[in-house]
Amino acid sequence: MALREVQPLENEEWTQLVAELEGNVTKEQSKFIQNAVENGRKLKVHR
């Protein structure tokens, strides 16, 4: 609760922060970036 007192958060932000602390959002984003990079690297680039 100390964090909330220092930097007030909206409810949805609080929920997201808790989810991140539990690792859910971070995992989802990591997986997303991994897929995106893999897909992006498959494309042919003419530099």
Binding site: Q29, S30, F32, I33, V37, N39, G40, L43, K44
Partner: protein, 177 residues
């Protein structure tokens, strides 16, 4: 122009740096008139001034089906609590600038594919130059797509409007190092 139901990006789409007269963009139309005029009138000028570099996505070496402009940039770490822990005031990153899909080719994942390619570019730069985030300043009405489909983290102004969105690339870099 015949638009396939499904685009085989790996096989049929090539990415080129924007060049004068390399591909015909005179009839390029997209849902945002400003972005339509950008590629026709300003993108090449920005490129020659090294302000932004524009890459065109070309289907079967013929049709420009979309473009994306990228540039180096940064965010101030006070802009979001997730950036607060950075040791320096500014967090270096790649700016995903203007991005547009040719109107007839909308709803075929062209936009998503272009963003995915920009992710791969950002990762490429991150080990050669220093590029910790990928970020953008969304036009009105597109932030939901970026947050829900592309998982960008929104930064809102004091009125609650999303003004910037970012991805921290460390999530990927830590896994791959």
């Amino acid at each position: 122009m015949l638009v396939p139901d499904v685009i085989d990006f790996e096989k049929n789409v090539d990415i080129f740096k924007l060049e004068k007269n390399l591909f015909d963009i005179t009839d390029f139309k997209c849902s945002n008139p400003e972005y339509e005029s950008y590629i026709k009138d300003d993108a090449y000028k920005d490129q020659t001034k090294f302000i932004a570099q524009t890459w065109v996505f070309v289907h079967k070496n013929e049709n420009v089906i979309g473009y994306v402009s990228i540039a180096m940039g940064d965010l101030n770490k006070i802009q979001h609590k997730k950036l607060n822990h950075f040791p320096h005031t500014n967090v270096p990153g790649l700016l995903l600038g203007r991005i547009a899909t040719r109107k007839e080719w909308e709803k075929h994942d062209v936009g998503q594919t272009m963003v995915e390619w920009v992710f791969s570019e950002a990762i490429r730069y991150s080990t050669d130059v220093g590029c910790r985030i990928l970020y953008l300043n969304p036009e009105d009405g597109v932030d939901t797509w970026y947050s829900e489909k592309m998982k960008f983290v929104p930064i809102k102004n004091k009125h609650g409007k999303v003004v910037t969105m970012f991805h921290d690339l460390q999530k990927y870099l830590n896994q791959s190092s």
